[in-house]
């Protein structure tokens, strides 16, 4: 009987997500804000609260994070990461400082304390590589000359996340300075080790994983990612980072094949992940922080525009391209919710979850829309000039 209800509930949720996804596709927006809203509706205090499937969904959400990060890692190879780090360090640092500041300052002004400030810094910092990549390809911006600037900022952010998430995990666990420092040192060592192994011995790992049979390949890649993610979690390095590093270690045609195989499973569990975050958030708690979230969204939109303009200018891009680079960086999505999710799970301030949810809702919806509208605007300005 229990299983029957579980299936009915899960089926209902996933089907609802499918319908929402179809709507998002038709309107031309990212489905992420809709998934979050669905989560709000199904959660406590929502219009259609779930009774039994929350446990299952919570495990599904964890899987979603791991698969999201694994496929993100598969997109890059170690060479690209190292080159990107070397050539774009300055732009990347400007990005980090400008965009971590709004969240951190906001948390401090609200008196949430330094731990929440570190979490909120991450919430406002990271651009959603998933949404931005989709915007770039949907709008035909991949050939644009400012696009490499945007992409390398995204790479830089993703790498920063590999260092930030372990730090956040340590801080949230309330570890003392010494044990915190040890955790961070372990994280740094792990990340550098994996990069080194991927650069030097990537072939060996690939030889082990490679298989002409797609079923075997899928099982090996997912198994390896889960195993490393679990070990990373054990070392307090964060499971997500473990999965990301596995993705980076695999490259070339193999990574291409694995990504294609993983895409459908990732899409399923990533949707579950966004729903789960919505589930944990009481819709009633969103309204009081909605104004604040909107303000934070506006401020961090401006800081991302400034970041894009700065980095594009350094790359010798003209004025229009600088605006596009900034606009492309606006969407927030998966990472921000991952970070807020970690903070909520560790018992951060009760308003942090709702604030992050509202913030991501706004920017995940508005970012792609702004990108769509900016080109006609640029053209109109050019005509008038």
């Amino acid at each position: 009987m229990h299983t029957a209800i579980l299936f009915v509930e899960l089926g209902g949720v996933v089907l609802a997500l499918g319908v929402l996804g179809a709507f998002a596709l038709r309107v031309g927006i990212s489905p992420i804000p809709l998934y979050l809203i669905a989560g709000l509706a199904f959660g406590t205090g929502g219009i259609l609260p779930l009774a039994t499937s929350e446990d299952f969904i919570s495990v599904g959400a964890e899987l979603g994070v791991i698969l999201l990060l694994l496929t993100l890692g598969l997109e890059y190879n170690a060479d690209e990461l190292v080159t990107s780090l070397r050539d774009n360090a300055r732009g990347g640092l400007v990005d980090l400082v400008l965009n971590a500041a709004p969240g951190a300052v906001c948390a401090l002004l609200l008196g949430w304390g330094p731990v929440a400030a570190i979490a909120m810094a991450g919430v406002t910092y990271a651009t959603s590589s998933g949404i931005t990549a989709k915007v770039l390809s949907d709008l035909g911006w991949i050939g644009n000359r400012e696009t490499p600037v945007v992409l390398s900022l995204l790479v830089f952010e993703d790498l920063t996340m590999a260092l930030y998430l372990p730090i956040l995990t340590a801080v949230l666990a309330g570890l003392g300075f010494l044990s915190g420092a040890v955790t961070v040192a372990i994280a740094l060592a792990t990340v550098s080790l994996v990069l080194l192994v991927a650069l030097r011995y990537g072939r060996v790992i690939e030889a082990f994983v490679r298989s002409p049979n797609s079923e075997v390949l899928l099982l090996k890649v997912v198994g390896l990612a889960l195993l490393v993610a679990g070990l990373a979690q054990k070392l307090q390095v964060s499971a997500a980072v473990g999965a990301f590093l596995v993705g980076i270690a695999l490259s070339g045609e193999l990574a291409e094949d694995a990504r294609a195989l993983l895409a459908p499973i990732r899409d399923l569990f990533a949707a579950v992940f966004f729903v789960f975050f919505g589930l944990q958030t009481d819709p009633a708690a969103i309204w009081p922080v909605a104004g604040l979230a909107a303000l934070l969204a506006v401020v961090s939109m401006i800081t991302k525009l400034a970041t894009g303009a700065y980095a594009a200018r350094r790359a010798g891009i003209a004025r229009e391209g600088r605006v596009r680079a900034g606009i492309a960086l606006i969407p927030r999505g998966e990472f921000n919710i991952v970070i807020a999710g970690l903070a909520v799970a560790a018992g951060a301030h009760p308003d942090l979850g709702p604030l992050a949810a509202a913030y991501v809702l706004i920017l995940a919806a508005f970012g792609p829309l702004a990108a769509r509208l900016v080109q006609p605007l640029i053209a109109a300005v050019a005509r008038r000039a």
């Binding site: 890059y76 490499p148 229009e320 391209g321 596009r324 080109q375 050019a382």
Partner: protein, 160 residues
């Protein structure tokens, strides 16, 4: 001319250059094998105003169309480097006695000691054509030999 190469992390590579007339064009090579031919906006030089998706076959066809005359030019340059060896491109014009006849009829090698190394037809290079190859008006015959030899071939092609 300088071709600029930029890495597109997660996507592939982009090559671009500015033509003599001031237009910027580029090619995005996706890791999946897809190619995008990019034409940049005249007024907004960083914007791709046209991005034409090409699959493997289409990119090959385009490369061949654009590259064929270049191959002949390179061949010429190569032969210019070898002293005493000249290569010449001789167009088959209307009124040529050998238009519509197999190339062997001209007995070029026996009469001049010069070789026909290629024929360019409709942008395509036909390398080392045999004596049975039928010449047509509009073909360009590429010959390699001494300068007297190639001149003699030009004379044969024009007047038989």
């Amino acid at each position: 001319m300088e071709v600029e190469q930029t890495a597109l992390p997660g996507i592939g590579l982009r090559h671009e250059f500015v033509t003599q007339a001031g237009r910027r064009i580029g090619v995005v090579s996706h890791r999946t094998g897809r190619r995008d031919l990019i034409v940049y906006d005249r007024l907004d030089p960083d914007r791709a105003c046209e991005a034409i998706k090409l699959n493997d076959e289409e990119s090959d066809a385009l490369a061949e169309l654009l590259g064929a005359p270049r191959i002949v030019q390179r061949l010429n340059a190569l032969h210019r480097e070898v002293e005493g060896l000249v290569s010449e491109q001789l167009p088959i014009v209307p009124g040529t006695p050998y238009a519509g006849r197999p190339m062997g009829d001209a007995r070029v090698r026996t009469r001049t000691g010069t070789s026909i190394v290629a024929v360019v037809r409709a942008g395509q290079v036909i390398a080392s054509p045999g004596p049975e190859f039928v010449l047509a008006v509009g073909d360009v015959v590429v010959v390699v030999g001494s300068s007297e030899g190639t001149e003699a071939v030009a004379e044969i092609m024009a007047n038989g």
